[in-house]
Amino acid sequence: MHNPQLTKDGKLKHLLTTEGLPRAILNQILDTAESFVGVAEREVKKVPLLRGKTVCNIFFENSTRTRTTFEIAAKRLSADVITLNVGTSSQSKGETILDTIDNLTAMHADMFVVRHAESGAAHFIAQHVAPHIHVINAGDGRHAHPTQGLLDVFTIRRYKPDMHNLRVALVGDVLHSRVARSEIHALTTLGVPEVRVIAPKTLLPQHVEKLGVQVHHDMREGLKDVDVVMMLRLQNERMNGALLPSAQEYFKCYGLTPEKLAFAKPDAIVMHPGPMNRGVEIDSAVADGKQSVILPQVTYGIAVRMAVMSILAGNSE
């Protein structure tokens, strides 16, 4: 079946999910991002690739960090950027998603960065848009958040370049986490031999092991000898019903403290996609500690989003 993200000759046209993306394309994104890291350290933090293009960030669901980093990425590529918080405008007046897209297309937008609470929203828009328009999924429901998954993998590769010899543990609310899914697909495609998930049964999707991960319910056992500890945000706003007894109880069992981190390798890195719930999934001593690479993740996120945008905008049918 044709992958809707690719052109007929196999180039990346939209970025909707990391699932099913060939290793060569993942590597091209990561390698290109490597070149963009240096751009941010120069006198002029801008390159002219997207000069004359218009990027529309359409956020049907709120976000601060993702929206800001996409805006910065597009601006550093010299694009004109418009950000719409649709949740607070047209949609509340009854306009459909496709009407919103059609209106922005009539304003000659070239790229849409879309976040939506419904899984599949970005796919739906990609199928609808005119052939010259590119779509980036900035998070759809529980489904995917590919640029976050890629920036996490980029951060891992920067600190632990030997991807074929790594143990990575994802800890926490895998059930509601689109980041976890995007990251697992990218890590397994890139040949990371051991990916673990550590969570209570209530926060794991059914058949999670089919994604190619090892399942653990105990931190001591799950963190043993890992190189990378990726903490997931406890998705309070997504919780329907009582999946957990209390935040305090969760912290006791699954919160990352210096004592639990000691089960991992001494040089293990600690990551978190943000925003963090300090004292719920992660202790401040770890979040601000020597092994934390949480702020570099944010910095690299801009380079990875620049890479994705510049690769997409150059690939037309």
Partner: protein, 174 residues
């Protein structure tokens, strides 16, 4: 019709280039190789020029001008981009750009644009192993180890073997 062209000896041209470059080295000079051929040349020439000009505090850098190319909208982003490395202050420095083959001048235009995003150099010169003719912009090298007319349907390609020796080959251009 490649039979009439005698392939230049890249290693011999490297020595010629080194000699011709000597008068351009002054205090506050940096040599900057353009990926990939120019970077190989810069890596080879840098230690030699540094030892022959000990008082000049020569610097070395590499540029990959993919983000500044004028064919991006036709051909997309080059699949093999590499990070540019300019580990010195460009401001008020004399920059010698190095490339393997000078052709249309478009790569050099892109490289100069990138360089200016690091700062305002005192001067920029261009040195190449081969000037093959065919320029499309008002840019030309100050130093060329060899002038050699090559037909537009041919590409003069520099490669590097495992011992870091350089050689030229001719290919049909895409």
């Amino acid at each position: 019709m490649t039979l009439n062209i005698q392939l230049p000896d890249a290693e011999a041209l490297l020595l010629t280039l080194e000699q011709k470059l000597a008068p351009f080295i002054q205090p506050k000079t940096a040599i900057v190789g353009i990926h990939s051929g120019g970077a190989w040349i810069a890596e080879r020439l840098f230690p030699r020029l540094q030892s022959s000009h000990p008082g000049c505090s020569l610097e070395l850098g590499m540029l990959d001008s993919s983000f500044y190319r004028d064919d991006y909208s036709q051909r997309g982003l080059h699949a093999d981009t590499r990070p540019s490395q300019i580990p010195f202050d460009v401001e008020e420095r004399h920059i010698i750009l190095l490339d393997d083959v000078f052709y249309t001048g478009r790569t050099i235009r892109a490289a100069m644009n990138e360089l200016f995003d690091y700062g305002r150099p005192a001067s920029i010169s261009l040195a190449v192993l081969v000037d093959r003719g065919g320029r499309e912009l008002p840019i030309c090298p100050q130093v060329a180890a060899l002038q050699l007319d090559i037909p537009p349907d041919q590409k003069l390609q520099l490669s590097r073997d495992e011992h870091h020796q350089l050689q030229f080959s001719l290919e049909a251009s895409a």
